[in-house]
Assembly symmetry: C2
Homo-oligomer: 111 residues x 2
């Protein structure tokens, strides 16, 4: 079956002050849409890691991404792959950021 998640109508999951997400998933694939409206940040979020493969598309705003000792500046339209099990962190450079994160396999911890 096909599933439709209407961005305007779906219930968002709050993930802290001024941050929320919604998602769609199949058996082995997930897209998470995350709105981060508490930027710009002085400091990066704490690094986190997971065994899942990840690709991020920046839908709006700008961020810095920290992976190992590399810092990458991303703007709307950019894509980033995140290797499994490597700590990564972001810092918001603009007031509002929307990230489209694709994961394989599914991030059960986000359901």
């Amino acid at each position: 079956m096909s599933t439709v998640v209407k961005g305007r109508d779906t219930a968002k999951t709050a993930i802290g002050n001024l941050r929320s997400r919604y998602l769609a998933k199949t058996s082995g694939l997930m897209i998470v849409v995350t709105d981060l409206n508490d930027g710009p940040n002085i400091e990066a979020d704490p690094p986190h890691s997971h065994p899942h493969e990840q690709i991020t598309y920046v839908a709006s705003g700008e961020i810095e991404v920290f992976i190992r000792n590399e810092t990458t500046h991303l703007i709307a339209g950019d894509l980033l792959t995140v290797p499994p099990n490597i700590p990564h962190a972001i810092r918001l450079l603009t007031d509002n950021v929307r990230l489209i994160d694709a994961f394989h396999p599914i991030r059960e911890d986000l359901l």
Copy 2:
């Protein structure tokens, strides 16, 4: 390794008149950014299918999606899952549409 694909700088792959795409991939995951600037369309594209799992995020514009005998109207911010091996087609409702398609496994035919 982490890979960065800068949307403004990367070479786009032309896929017909006024359509292009760029992508990023890991071993089992792919995001394809597709710009369709030949809308609005009177008729839908020919249906196509593939064994890959797919989730589409509409970054901008509006489309109709046809799956089996269902028609779904999608606007920016909406998510849609597409089942494997089911023919699906789209019709552009606006001049410009950007779709973010995630696939698992990788669509070798798009490389």
